[in-house]
Symmetry: C2
Subunit: 329 residues, 2 copies
């Protein structure tokens, strides 16, 4: 994340309180932001603002920075709550917040950070931005519900279409579509309708790449535990593809293991499943699928950015989006 | 809650989706609102709007109704998350949302409802309202942190001042101060600064009465399990007062029981503690304390409302506030 965005987040979040318990509360709010996310989404937003004609140092740029801070705050409160829902162990290379402070305090800190996100949106003062954030949260929560309800109900009879609908909702809006749109709004222009199909494809590519990285043993900078998706019983393109063609005995063992709660999963069995997935070719299949989605998304995005005010910044956006499907962390 | 407010909430929340899982998600969003809260806070807000001169059927009244819907949505998402944090069993006479659908889905539904609250604030279009909601969430989350961190850390060395600071933050802002202020803002007037001290005292009285009701065996319309605060290890004025004068052996047994997680608490021991509390006079002490806070708050509130546009509505506000310390449910 750009240092000036972290600066705005720190400006917004309270820092000191005479009561030690509330001082502690404030430290929880700053924890995830201070761990230093990559800031991909705010970067995309800021590039989109520049491509649409916002000059650095202008008051529009300051508004775009506040929107960037808001989108990073969104990412952070969602991660706190997701880590609770999935009972994740790690986030950005450190223990998840609820593993440090217990579920109740982490849940509450996530709610407070959610409100500070709205404070950042208000500071931006960009007409239409509030509606974008509402749309983003609604779609992301719908995707999250699909993801979580399949886990909760043990549903594995899912098609690639089901998976794609889930990740478009869960990932594409907040990772691609809304950052691109917010950049246009910060410039006072109407966002291209092509941002939606472009972002759906690129968001799917981004999420599939994330699923791939979660299974690769050498994903150094990834920041979450390797194989965590298996422990959490996540539906991914990889597991769904593998499941459709796996030997019946492996299918049986897999479904049996996935039906156990996270805490009762057998590490040896998880290791065997990891081997099956890696040997099956399903990871390669998923990566190829991500590459195709990425290529489609880039084509749409190129069209969407054809007539923007600053074509050289548009090229930077395309470069950033291209990195979504090849990223290592 | 007024039927027209529930109508606005239903207008805002999505209803149908072709995917059964998302249809299910939408039913989770409507669950707590449909259980029919008392709507005290929105009622206070609407009375405050009328007292400050908003005429029913005016466009200002429509804005006040949207703010009322927003404050009820706040109450609902907070209750979903509080029930998770406390692992409560019941809410409004039915199982808590996470006990019906599991923690992950309930947590996510609470987040989505939080966003719909902001959508209602936006619909109201009242200048300054967004800042009031931000202030309300920040203070409530601070109070919630105090409450939860004392439970998590096993802290019982607390004074009445500690307790009062906690409930002023946790309860007073969203129950009294902010509804009163929002009513004034809906009328386009500057809220009286006396709303803050008035609301702090009345909010404390309201919360202490809530703590009393939680221990009374005959609280028919209360909607939460009797003695639930003990199971959740909540610090209340009653337990703190009792603890300061209880026989050492009872203190020891109490602290030992409170140190156990909710699921491992011994029902027989909880029943004995309930008897001790009821016999000790600490419930009466707390009720007298609530009465005093209530009286102080009413004095301040009367002064705050002295010069409002509609004095007869001011009288209704005082009547509603008076009920805060004598309510049965």
């Amino acid at each position: 994340m750009r240092p000036e965005l972290l600066g705005l987040i720190y400006e917004l979040l309270p820092e000191t309180h005479s009561r030690p318990e509330l001082q502690h509360f404030y430290s929880l709010l700053r924890d995830y932001p201070a761990r230093g996310g990559k800031g991909l989404r705010s970067e995309l937003l800021l590039l989109s603002a520049r491509a649409h004609g916002v000059a650095e140092q202008s008051s529009q740029w300051q508004s775009a920075l506040w929107l960037g801070a808001a989108i990073e705050l969104f990412q952070n409160w969602v991660l706190i709550h997701d880590d609770i829902a999935d009972d994740s162990e790690e986030r950005r290379g450190q223990p998840a917040l609820h593993r440090l402070h217990g579920l109740p305090l982490a849940l509450n800190a996530g709610d407070a950070l959610h409100a500070y996100m709205w404070a950042a949106v208000e500071r931006a003062g960009v007409p239409g931005a509030m509606g974008e954030f509402l749309e983003m949260i609604h779609r992301t929560a719908e995707g999250q519900h699909l993801d979580l309800t399949w886990v909760a109900s043990g549903e594995w009879q899912l098609s690639e279409t089901d998976y794609l609908e889930m990740v478009r909702l869960k990932t594409a809006y907040y990772t691609v579509i809304v950052p691109l749109r917010l950049g246009a709004l910060a410039a006072g222009t109407v966002p291209s309708p092509l941002f939606t199909p472009a972002g759906e494809a690129l968001g799917a590519a981004f999420q599939i790449r994330d699923d791939v990285l979660n299974l690769l043993a050498d994903a150094g900078g990834y920041g979450k535990e390797i194989g965590g998706d298996l422990l959490e019983g996540k539906r991914t393109l990889i597991t769904l593809h593998w499941l459709s063609g796996a030997p019946p005995e492996q299918q049986r063992l897999f479904l049996h293991e996935m039906a156990r709660p996270r805490g009762e999963k057998d590490p040896q069995m998880i290791a065997r499943i990891l081997d099956w997935l890696r040997e099956s070719g399903s990871i390669d299949y998923a990566q190829r699928f991500a590459d195709e989605q990425g290529a489609d998304g880039l084509t749409e995005l190129r069209r969407a950015l054809m007539n923007v005010a600053q074509p050289e910044t548009a090229a930077q956006i395309l470069q950033l989006a291209e990195g979504y499907v090849t990223r290592r962390a």
